[in-house]
């Protein structure tokens, strides 16, 4: 059983601040973390390994510092880690990202066939949920998105049964290996790493592949060049035509404020007044 887990290193959004005057993101000192959604993918792969044995390989495309994120995956119990990193990958959108990842995965499977690829549901920065489907299409794997549960996996029969979150319900699907699973959040809980894995992770030589090692010779397909989407402008949202009407009263009394607000609301929006009067639980 060979599982791959794709992970992305992202800035910890909880610690991002926006400059109050320039409205730009203040990136300095923001710690990088493993995309939180990817931990559900990793844990699921580790559980399969607990059950069935085998190998878990983690892979990431990113700058050299992303090695830290891969090392952290090793400390949780992943067996091998590969970082694909090359200046030519810079500025990749999801199409270019899935191309580079798929190329590296093709290299990997030449040495050790892949049974399941896991990705997170989406990232917290790009937030598109497009890389998983993209990789699956490129490799010709069956795609199972938003999987909440692996019901059964039979490596010898090459069959897998899963539950996936669909619109308005849960779909139970059966398909053949190899497949790509995007794991839904909240479906498992990341384990604590074992001491032995932590030591191993600290010393482990994370493989770093440049584009040639990843089997990519077409520069037109990666990075900015391989990205059909072009970011045109970045801007602050426009305020509504006017600023909110701020309710003020002389005595600053909350009761007075509330009554003044409602008097305004109800005269300017009689329909809302009627609607509220109808439904209020008085």
């Amino acid at each position: 059983m060979h599982s791959i887990v794709c992970i992305k290193q992202v800035p910890d959004s909880a610690q991002i601040r926006v400059h109050p005057v320039t409205n730009t993101i203040m990136r300095q000192g923001v710690p990088a973390i493993i995309n939180p959604y990817d931990l559900f993918a990793l844990e699921e792969a580790l559980r399969l390994k607990d059950q069935l044995g085998g190998t878990v390989t983690v892979i990431s495309m990113g700058p050299p510092q992303a090695e830290v994120a891969l090392r952290q995956c090793l400390s949780y119990g992943a067996d091998d880690a590969i970082l694909i990193s090359d200046r030519a990958f810079a500025g990749a959108d999801t199409l270019a990202t899935s191309f580079a990842l798929a190329a590296a995965l093709n290299k990997i499977r030449q040495n050790m066939p892949i049974d399941v690829i896991f990705t997170g549901k989406q990232t917290i920065d790009g937030d598109t949920a497009q890389v998983g489907p993209g990789v699956a299409k490129r490799l010709g794997y069956q795609l199972l998105t938003y999987v909440s549960k692996i019901v059964n996996l039979d490596v010898t029969q090459r069959e897998i049964m899963v539950e996936r979150r669909a619109e308005g319900g849960v779909q139970k699907l059966k398909t053949r290996l190899p497949c790509l699973i995007t794991m839904l959040e909240g479906t498992n809980e990341m384990r604590f790493g074992e001491m032995a894995d932590m030591f191993r992770a600290a010393r482990y030589n994370v493989k770093v592949w440049d584009r040639l090692a990843a089997g990519i010779d077409d520069l037109e397909k990666v990075g900015l060049k391989g990205s059909p989407t072009v970011v045109g402008k970045v801007f602050a949202p426009k305020p509504r035509s006017q600023h909110a009407e701020i309710i003020e009263v002389h005595d600053h009394d909350p009761r007075n404020l509330a009554e003044t607000l409602l008097a305004k609301l109800f005269t300017q929006h009689p329909k809302i007044a009627q609607e509220l009067a109808k439904r209020a639980q008085l």
Partner: protein
């Protein structure tokens, strides 16, 4: 590289590429399952109508599904919501959503008729399908757009979405590939009023993929039990609380007001992350998009990720102790003050004044 966000702005001037001259028309994928159309598809037709008008090209719906009368009926409904024509593919293998046949069928249609723009709802189905189709067609796909427009210079789709972590938006264009693809989350665009007198042309597409060649099988579909679950997306009145409430106990103020108004309770992301309310109640980019008649935001700063989820509300009232909080830039009414004092007073004022209105009518 990937973790460097937001991407640097780039200015590339392009004229309409002659290779794309024959890519014409705006398409909306009409998501339907078990005879039900996902409302996001109608919302997209409303938006698509404007884009098609700007480009002076037809607007088309794309309906795929099981070969029953209902599926054909859906085509008529696309006309009511603004489509000029509707592509229809019917097959037993399209009965339940599965990635493989749907990707194949939609890709075939695109290759045959070559639209310039293809839009899908950013539902679980739409995201699954859009990502696969865009990769197969090797074109650009902009996710979760909050605004769509046509760039007058290049006639390209200018798709705007929030950039992460800050109060910024970015506009993304696919200039050198066709079709240009975009997904939009439910409730982000307004629901158009249907016009039952409109009609249009149905173009049927044969789709002959034998079941035996499809590897993934649907064993069962278990519908959600929606009873007792909050339905924020379609709520008329929402009272939402944020981190400004400081403690879980204080969130009771939100519940009290909501109960009086018969409203749903919403929350900002930090409140959900702190476990004060269930994740179903999160409003914003990574939560629900809502369009109530009245949205009361209590102790919410109005970060862009929250804003994109609720700025379609008819009337927004904000209560915040910081007069410079960004929420006042787009709320309609504001009270600057301490929520812990004001919300209770507001609940009581509603109680008194609504009783008076009810008596008067």
């Amino acid at each position: 590289m990937t973790s460097e966000a937001p991407p640097k702005p780039m200015r590339r001037k392009v004229a309409v590429d002659p290779r794309f001259a024959h890519y014409r028309g705006v398409w909306v994928f009409i998501e339907n399952e078990r005879g039900q159309v996902h409302p996001v598809s109608w919302e997209l037709l409303g938006e698509g109508r404007k884009l098609a008008n700007t480009l002076s090209v037809p607007l088309a719906g794309v309906v795929m599904g099981t070969p029953v009368e209902r599926t054909r009926q859906i085509c008529q409904e696309t006309f009511h919501y603004g489509a000029d024509l509707c592509y229809l593919a019917q097959s037993d293998v399209l009965t339940d959503y599965r990635n493989e046949p749907y990707t194949q069928c939609l890709t075939d249609l695109v290759n045959t008729y070559q639209p310039e723009i293809l839009m899908l709802g950013a539902s679980t189905l739409g995201r699954d399908l859009a990502g696969s189709v865009a990769t197969t067609l090797a074109t650009g796909l902009t996710a979760d757009c909050t605004e769509l427009a046509i760039d007058p210079e290049s006639r390209c789709l200018a798709a705007t979405r929030p950039t992460f972590g800050g109060s910024l938006l970015c506009t993304i264009m696919t200039q050198r590939h066709r079709p240009q693809m975009a997904t939009v989350r439910p409730r982000v665009m307004a629901m158009p009023d249907p016009d039952v007198n409109r009609s249009g042309q149905i173009i049927e597409q044969a789709f002959a993929m034998p079941e035996a060649t499809i590897i993934t099988k649907v064993l069962e579909f278990i519908p959600d039990d929606m009873s007792g679950k909050p339905n924020l997306a379609f709520a008329d009145i929402i009272v939402a609380g944020g981190r400004g409430l400081k403690r879980a106990e204080n969130f009771q103020l939100v519940w009290d007001l909501a109960q009086l108004l018969g409203a749903e309770v919403g929350a900002s992301r930090p409140v959900v992350q702190a476990g004060w309310v269930e994740p179903d109640r999160q409003v914003g980019q990574s939560g629900k998009t809502v369009r109530p008649k009245l949205y009361i935001a209590i102790g919410i700063s109005g970060a862009v990720q929250h804003r994109v989820g609720m700025e379609g509300s008819d009337v927004i009232i904000a209560i915040n102790n910081d007069p410079n909080a960004p929420i006042f830039d787009f709320a309609h009414y504001g009270i600057v003050g301490n929520a812990m004092q004001i919300v209770h007073a507001l609940t009581e004022a509603f109680r008194v004044q609504l009783a008076q209105i009810r008596q008067a009518s």
